[in-house]
C-alpha cells in the first residue's frame, strides 16, 4: 500500500514537471501551429540567466522574475527573427509544415552550443530555498517535497493564468483567432505578427517557469532539459495540443503512467514507456484527450 501511494506521489510530482514544459509547447502550438523544439533551449538559456541573477542577488525568489522575463524575451526574439520570416518565406511551399520544426531544432542546437560557450559544459547548481526533502507524515517521509509543491503550484498557476487570458481577454481572443485563421484575423484588424510574437513570449515565460522550478531538483547544464522536452511534447500530444488543461492532464497521465510502469512492469521499458502510453492514448483518442476532432493538420 505504501508503495502504491508512493508511486502515485512520484507520478504526480514528475507529472507536474512534464506539465510545465508541456504548457510551454501548447502555448506556442496554439499561437502559431508550430511544435517548438527550441522550447528546451529557451528554457535552458532563461534558467542560466536566472542562475546569473541569483549569483548576483543571492535570492532565488528575486531571480525567478528575471528568468521569466528573459524567457519571454528570448522566445519573442526567436519568433520575430526566425519563425516569422520563415513562415512568410515558406508559405504555400511543400515545406510549410515542417520547415518551422527544423528551424526550432536549429535554434535548440544553437542555444545549447551558446550556453556551452558561455557557461561551459558542466553541471551547475541553481538552488531554491525550498527543501527538496519530502514531507514527513508521522514516521514516514513521503516522496513529495516543498519544491514539488512549488512545481505543482507553478503548473496550476501558469495553466490557470493563461487559460483565463485566452478565455476572458481580448488579447486571448486575438491569440486564438490569429492561430486559427491568420488571414481572416488580419482582415478583422488583428495585428497578427505582433500577436504571434506575444504568444511566443507567453510560451517562453511558461518555459522559463519550468526551467527555474525544475532545475533545483536536479542540476543545470546545456543539455539538462533535453529529456524533459521529449516528455513535455509527449504530454502535450496526450493532452491534445490545443488545450492548456490538456497539457497539465497529459503531463499527469504521463507521469503516473511512467511511475506505474517503472514500479510494476520494470525499468526495461523506461525509454519505451512514453511510446507505449502515447500509443494507448492515441488508439483510444487519435486527437488526444482534450483535442478537437476537427483540429487542423500541422
Amino acid at each position: 500500500m505504501q508503495i502504491f501511494i508512493n508511486t502515485i506521489l512520484v507520478g504526480l510530482s514528475s507529472g507536474a514537471i512534464y506539465s510545465l514544459m508541456s504548457l510551454a509547447l501548447v502555448l506556442v502550438w496554439r499561437s502559431t501551429r508550430v511544435v517548438n523544439f527550441a522550447a528546451a533551449g529557451q528554457a535552458i538559456l532563461s534558467t542560466y540567466i536566472g542562475y546569473e541573477a541569483m549569483s548576483s542577488m543571492h535570492n532565488y525568489w528575486l531571480s525567478l522574475p528575471v528568468a521569466i522575463l528573459a524567457g519571454a524575451g528570448i522566445s519573442a526574439l526567436v519568433e520575430a527573427l526566425v519563425m516569422r520570416p520563415l513562415a512568410k518565406r515558406s508559405k504555400g511551399t511543400p515545406v510549410e509544415a515542417i520547415a518551422p520544426v527544423i528551424a526550432t531544432l536549429g535554434v535548440l542546437g544553437g542555444i545549447r552550443s551558446l550556453a556551452g560557450l558561455i557557461w561551459g559544459n558542466n553541471f551547475i547548481q541553481y538552488t531554491s530555498p525550498l527543501s527538496s526533502k519530502g514531507y514527513t507524515i508521522g514516521q514516514t517521509t513521503i516522496p513529495f517535497s516543498p519544491q514539488n509543491a512549488a512545481i505543482v503550484i507553478g503548473a496550476v498557476v501558469v495553466m490557470a493564468m493563461f487559460a483565463a487570458i485566452f478565455k476572458f481577454t481580448r488579447l486571448g481572443l486575438a491569440l486564438r483567432a490569429a492561430s486559427f485563421q491568420p488571414e481572416i484575423s488580419r482582415l478583422a484588424g488583428v495585428r497578427v505578427d505582433r500577436i504571434r510574437t506575444i504568444g511566443w513570449a507567453f510560451a517562453g515565460a511558461a518555459g522559463a517557469v519550468a526551467g527555474a522550478l525544475v532545475t533545483p531538483t536536479s542540476y543545470l547544464s546545456p543539455n539538462s532539459l533535453d529529456l524533459l522536452l521529449v516528455s513535455g511534447f509527449v504530454a502535450a500530444v496526450i493532452g491534445g495540443l490545443e488545450s492548456l488543461i490538456g497539457a497539465v492532464v497529459g503531463g499527469v497521465v504521463l507521469g503516473l503512467g511512467f511511475a506505474f510502469i517503472l514500479q510494476y512492469i520494470g525499468t526495461s521499458v523506461t525509454f519505451s514507456a512514453a511510446f507505449i502510453i502515447l500509443v494507448i492514448v492515441l488508439l483510444i483518442r487519435p486527437q488526444g484527450i482534450f483535442g478537437r476532432r476537427s483540429g487542423r493538420e500541422a
Partner: protein, 236 residues
C-alpha cells in the same frame, strides 16, 4: 472623396493577374465587379485590402494611397474586406467572431451599439451567440462574416462573392441585407460577384473586367440591358 484605382498591375508569380486596371468609385456608391472565373476579381480585392503586393500603379481612398499598407492598418482606416468563402473562424463561437470585428476599436460603447445593430439585422445570429461558428449553415456564416465587418464601422466595404455556394433564397436575403446596410450606414461598397444578376440588382454601377483589364462599365441598368454583355458575362 473616392476610391481611385489607376493603372494597377498585380503579378502572381509569372502570371499577370491584373494588368493596367483603372477605375473610380464614388463615395456612397455600390459598384459590382463582374467577370468570369480568373478575370482577376478576387486578386483586385486582395490587392486593395493589402493582402497582395502590387507591382505597379496606384490606388487611393479619399485621396490617400492605400497601397503598401497592411490589412490590419487599412481596417483602422475604414477599409474592410470580407474575403471569399464565408470568412468566419469556425473554431470560435458566434459571439467571439463578432467581438473580433471590433477588437481593435477603442470606443467600446459604439462597438456594443454596432453589435446590437448587427444582431437586429441578423436575428439568427443572436439566437446562436454561444454556439461554435462551425455549427452554422452557409448562409448564417455569410451573415456572421458581414456582421463582423460592420462592427468595424467601415466606410469602404470590399465584398468577395457573398453568394458563393448559397441557396437562391438565402442569396436574396444576403443581398437585401447588403442593400439595407449600405443605405443605412452610407457605405461605399465594392461587390465582386459571379452571380451578376443579383449583384446588378442592388448595384449602382457595374465594371466588367476580363484577364485583368476593364473591358466595360456602365450603370447597372444599362449593363442589364446590354445584350452583348448579357451573353458574354451574364450567361443568358
Amino acid at each position: 472623396m473616392t476610391l481611385k484605382v489607376e493603372q494597377l498591375h498585380v503579378q502572381h508569380g509569372a502570371i499577370t493577374a491584373i494588368e493596367d486596371l483603372t477605375f473610380t468609385i464614388n463615395e456612397g456608391e455600390l459598384v459590382t465587379i463582374i467577370g468570369s472565373n480568373g478575370a482577376g476579381k478576387t486578386t483586385l480585392l486582395r490587392a486593395l485590402s493589402g493582402l497582395l503586393p502590387v507591382s505597379a500603379g496606384s490606388a487611393s481612398w479619399k485621396g490617400e494611397s492605400i497601397l503598401g499598407k497592411r490589412p490590419e492598418d487599412l481596417v483602422r482606416r475604414g477599409i474592410v474586406h470580407v474575403s471569399e468563402g464565408k470568412a468566419v473562424i469556425p473554431e470560435l463561437t458566434v459571439a467571439e467572431n463578432l467581438e473580433l470585428g471590433g477588437i481593435w476599436r477603442k470606443d467600446k460603447s459604439d462597438v456594443a451599439a454596432a453589435t446590437a445593430e448587427v444582431l437586429e439585422l441578423f436575428p439568427r445570429l443572436g439566437e446562436r451567440l454561444k454556439q461554435g461558428a462551425d455549427t452554422l449553415s452557409g448562409g448564417e456564416r455569410q451573415m456572421l462574416a458581414i456582421g463582423r465587418s460592420i462592427i468595424a464601422r467601415p466606410q469602404l466595404l470590399l465584398l468577395d462573392e457573398p453568394s458563393l455556394g448559397l441557396a437562391p433564397l438565402i442569396i436574396e436575403q444576403i443581398f437585401a441585407a447588403i442593400d439595407a446596410l449600405r443605405h443605412r450606414l452610407g457605405l461605399t461598397v465594392v461587390l465582386v460577384e459571379q452571380n451578376a444578376m443579383s449583384a446588378l440588382s442592388i448595384a449602382d454601377r457595374g465594371i466588367i473586367i476580363n484577364l485583368g483589364r476593364v473591358v466595360g462599365s456602365g450603370s447597372a441598368q444599362a449593363l442589364l440591358n446590354d445584350p452583348a454583355l448579357r451573353s458574354a458575362y451574364l450567361g443568358y
